[in-house]
């Protein structure tokens, strides 16, 4: 009960709001600052120094004490300033397979002055530190192990700093609603896609693959960069993709019904493995799930489409 109350108070104080529209600039009212534990210890130290200076009537002791006290005040400004006016944008959040480490990306820019040791972290996780210089955008990637298939949300991020001397913790919250698509974990024990799923085609007709050069065709988004005809591009022709032919005898359907396993996740793992295998062999393949069918094709865009379908599969329910 108290935890809930605390959370709602903290949400109210720190203005937990809906996901924000980038870029977010850390303006004055967004930045909070409090002493760290080190800061409190420092305060206690200066108090002891002050008492000793009074007691022993040490003028230079007073000088020392007051220097440290004022320095703490100045350090507060420096810490605050180290965060102020930073501009944040969402960064790369590439999809991963379950069990791999996903990265939530945040890009940080500074309008002036290099900022040292700016850290970003998710609630209760290890922070990632970066220096932000005027010349280049700092890309901070927060590593998170993707345990489960599906969409992993980053949640609210804390951006903070304790630079220069660690007496104060200045922080701000930002929520870009970053997400990473987590594909099912491929199951290598699934082996090759089942043979009887192949429908026979006429032997000897070239089908797209990657063994022998066949023809140039217009570029389609998703074509692998290594297949782009750079020489043709250099001759100021349009963007073309080289197509290779393979002697293939079948068109492959990767089918939910073929994956015989105990539960949904295990089945998806098998399907995922088959998609990867088919993609690796340059095979043209389609994907059939309950309530969804993706027509046979190939290439990176197609593979991504299939993997996303597997990642977001909800058992055929709408």
């Amino acid at each position: 009960m108290f935890a809930g109350l605390r959370q709602s108070i903290s949400d109210w104080i720190f203005r937990a709001t809906a996901p924000e529209v980038p870029p977010v600039t850390l303006v004055q009212r967004r930045i909070f600052i409090l002493p760290t534990r080190q800061g409190y210890t420092f305060g206690f130290t200066t108090l002891v120094l002050l008492i000793a200076s009074i007691n022993y009537a040490l003028s230079l002791g007073f000088v020392l004490t007051f220097t440290l006290m004022s320095m703490a005040g100045v350090a507060m400004l420096h810490t605050w300033r180290n965060l102020a006016h930073l501009k944040l944008r969402p960064g790369r959040c590439d999809p991963v397979f379950a069990g791999q480490t996903a990265h939530f990306g945040v890009n940080v820019e500074t309008p002036a002055q290099t900022r040292f040791s700016v850290a970003v972290r998710r609630t209760d996780e290890q922070p990632v530190y970066a220096d932000v210089s005027v010349a280049e955008t700092a890309s901070i990637a927060l590593p998170v192990v993707a345990a489960k298939r599906g969409v992993m949300r980053c949640g609210r991020l804390e951006i903070f700093t304790r630079y220069p001397i660690g007496l104060f913790h200045a922080w701000s919250y930002v929520d870009f609603d970053l997400r990473v698509v987590v594909y099912p974990r491929p199951d290598p024990s699934a082996g090759m896609p089942p043979a009887h799923s192949r429908s026979l085609t006429e032997e000897g007709i070239p089908v797209p693959g990657d063994e022998e050069f066949h023809m140039l065709r217009p570029y389609r988004p998703g074509d692998a960069p290594k297949l782009i005809a750079w020489k043709a591009l250099a001759r100021e022709q349009e963007l073309l993709t080289k197509e290779f032919s393979a002697m293939a005898s079948s068109e492959l359907w990767i089918d939910w019904e073929e994956a015989r396993a105990l539960d949904v996740e295990a089945r998806l793992s098998m399907l995922c493995h088959w998609v990867m295998v088919a993609d690796r062999f340059g095979q043209s393949y389609g994907l059939r799930l309950p309530g969804l069918a993706i027509a046979p094709s190939r290439g990176d865009a197609h593979r991504t489409r299939c993997l996303e379908a597997l990642a977001l599969f909800n058992g055929g329910r709408p």
Partner: protein, 659 residues
């Protein structure tokens, strides 16, 4: 671009910085401590450095516990206690070293750094001179630089990247520090009683004197007491501040007479030239007060008594600053009737020690017709071939005065006074040693006479028939300047920079030395000596007499707010980002409105691409969006825009409703 996922860790270079800072801050202590402390401290620092460098294991808990106990025991055997200034600081230094040996986490690093700040303070217990102040400032700088290093997580800062932010912090802290220093109300005394030896060794006369005891004292520039005269200040050469009178002699040390009731003869036969003054005495943890020769018996300060040897004593140790007013007679004659008991006490000495000095005294007696001639011979003798120096050679502990008079011939006031008094006793003239202070330094600002430990002095009183007790100062025979102009005047040409000053025809070095001394006295008066009195005086000079701590507290708050906001403004306004160029600002507002309606501009999207997308998504907005976009593109990328056009753009953005 570097991004490291690391918690704060102990970087080798950071650890080395901290170790260096520790060595720097402890170095002045090591110079004045027993040598085993230096060995202990440096060995442990080296060990810790090796641990960091070679990434080897830390010692086990048993080892550090054993070292801790060993350090405490060694400290106890060195000082016979573990509290008090010397012992306490020794223990603190040892413990700081051991703390380094246990330092494994960021938290312990922080504690070590704070301990370092405390060690800076302990240095001020021993000295508060300008050079030490500067040195300690450098140490604080390094410590803050170390803090900066430990807070640069994931990257190893360069020397500049450590010292520059640290320097900036210290420089920006300066205004507030000065305000606090001036305004913070000073206490009138310590908050609790200090350990009894907190001033041992360095300051204050003691109840015995042997060769070397005063010349140690003389190196301290701590203030002994300050004097405000009513009316004119007496001549410098008559400023003999009488302290402990030493009549017992064991062959090496002169001591305060064990028998306090010896009738020395203290009746005044003549009392002329009275002078009244107020003394502000610093605590010296002994019972005597100081007064000029000779104190008036009618004006004894409250709580004090005047003993038969004209020594002013209080009933308890002086543990806090004390002010008293008293009167003295500069032209006097006293003690013409010396009792037989007093006479015997003033002639006593050990025949077996210092035989050559004793023989010399007896020889003078034989050759002289009367006591005046004995004195004459003695002065001639001391005038001839002795050198006044603060660094006399070591003397044979059994016959120190023989060694001094016949071998080394270099000494300080206690050498002269001690050997002179012994020779007088051998010659049959009753004599005793008087210690105290001679002279002082006039503060030109408030006309106050400041007497420092450096003015400590020893002289001799002899008793002559029909004349009573008579002050003779054998040091004056050797170095008249000592009595005319103070220790520095006496030492200046001989003791300090002999060859350089001699080869300085323009007087440049002498001028520099004078300037340095003037600076030091200002420093002592206004920084080191900035006490409650000085604070009152300072504000009185500004036209605020009688400020109390409430007023000061109020001003302090006001100053904190004022200076604090000035520094904040200076710091924060300077780096506020420049305002966007007006057309860009208007465009950003426009994009924000569209974004709120769900059509955020992608980072890579140019204005025209964006326009196309918005038009496709919301055809009804097309005219307005197209108008604004083209105005913006013209203003920013085209021929530019007049002030009116910019205003028009801003107005249209304002009026645009994404609904």
């Amino acid at each position: 671009m570097r991004s490291v996922a690391l918690s704060p860790h102990l970087d080798v270079r950071n650890v080395m910085w901290l170790l260096a800072a520790m060595v720097f801050v402890v170095a002045p202590h090591l110079l004045r401590m027993p040598y085993w402390v230096s060995i202990f401290f440096l060995a442990i620092v080296a060990w810790r450095a090796w641990i960091a460098w070679a990434a080897i294991h830390f010692p086990g808990r048993l080892v550090t516990a054993a070292l801790t106990i060993a350090a405490a025991i060694a400290t106890y055997f060195e000082y016979r206690r573990i509290v008090g200034r010397e012992a306490g600081v020794t223990l603190l230094v040892a413990m700081a070293a051991l703390k380094l040996l246990e330092m494994k986490t960021q938290r312990e690093v922080v504690l070590s750094i704070y301990l370092g700040f405390f060690l800076v303070l302990t240095n001020f217990l021993f000295s508060q001179t300008i050079p030490l102040g500067i040195y300690m400032l450098a140490c604080v700088w390094i410590f803050v630089g170390t803090m900066v290093g430990f807070n640069r997580v994931g990257s190893s800062p360069t020397l500049t990247q450590r010292l520059r932010p640290a320097g900036a912090l210290l420089v920006q802290a300066l205004p507030l520090m000065v305000a606090f220093f001036i305004l913070f109300p000073r206490a009138s005394g310590p908050l609790w009683a200090l350990p009894t030896d907190s001033r041992s060794g360095a300051t204050g006369l003691s109840d015995s004197m042997k060769p070397g005891s005063i010349s140690n004292l003389i190196k301290s520039d701590a203030i002994a007491f300050r004097v405000q005269f009513e009316g004119d200040r007496p001549q410098y050469s008559s400023l003999y501040w009488r302290g402990p009178v030493l009549a017992d002699f064991d062959g090496a040390a002169w001591k305060v007479a064990e028998d306090q009731n010896v009738p020395w003869g203290d009746a005044y036969a003549r009392r002329e030239k009275p002078v009244t003054y107020t003394v502000t005495l610093e605590p010296h943890f002994k019972r005597w007060l100081f007064a000029l020769d000779v104190p008036a018996k009618s004006q004894i300060p409250r709580g004090a008594t005047l003993r038969p040897d004209l020594q002013l004593m209080t009933s308890a140790d002086i543990r806090e600053r004390r002010r008293y007013e008293t009167t003295s007679f500069l032209d006097y004659r006293y003690g013409e009737t010396l009792s037989e008991r007093g006479r015997r006490a003033a002639l006593q000495f050990d025949e077996n020690r210092n035989p050559r000095t004793v023989a010399l005294g007896r020889q003078w007696r034989r050759e002289a017709a009367d006591e005046a001639q004995v004195l004459q011979k003695a002065f001639t003798y001391f005038n001839r071939e002795f050198t006044y120096t603060l660094e006399p050679p070591l003397l044979d502990p059994r016959n120190p005065y023989d060694a001094f008079l016949f071998e080394t011939k270099q000494g300080f006031c206690e050498h002269y006074a001690g050997s002179f008094a012994l020779a007088m006793r051998a010659a049959g003239i009753p004599a005793r040693v008087v210690t105290g202070y001679q002279g002082g330094e006039v503060n030109q600002i408030n006309n106050e006479l400041v007497v420092r430990q450096a003015d400590a002095h020893a002289w001799v009183e002899i008793w002559l028939r029909d004349r009573g007790w008579l002050r003779v100062d054998p040091t004056a025979a050797v170095s008249p300047l000592r009595v005319e102009g103070g220790v520095n005047a006496a030492l200046g040409p001989i003791g300090m920079l002999p060859s350089l000053i001699a080869a300085d025809p323009m007087g440049l070095l002498a001028n520099m030395r004078d300037a340095w001394r003037a600076m030091n006295s200002q420093w002592d008066a206004w920084v080191v000596g900035y006490s409650i009195d000085r604070q009152r005086q300072f504000f009185a000079q500004l036209g605020f007499p009688d400020v109390d701590w409430r007023t000061l507290g109020f001003w302090l708050m006001a100053a904190t707010i004022l200076v604090g906001s000035a520094v904040s403004v200076g710091l924060l306004v300077r780096d506020r980002p420049r305002r966007d160029e007006p057309s860009l600002a208007a465009w950003n507002r426009f994009c924000a409105k569209l974004a709120a309606a769900g059509l955020a501009r992608a980072a890579h999207e140019g204005p025209l691409d964006y326009l196309r997308r918005v038009e496709a998504a919301q055809p009804s907005w097309a005219p307005q969006v197209s108008d604004i976009t083209s105005r913006y593109v013209r203003a920013r990328y085209g021929e530019g825009a007049t002030r009116e056009e910019l205003r028009e753009l801003a107005r249209r953005v304002r009026d645009f409703r994404a609904a």
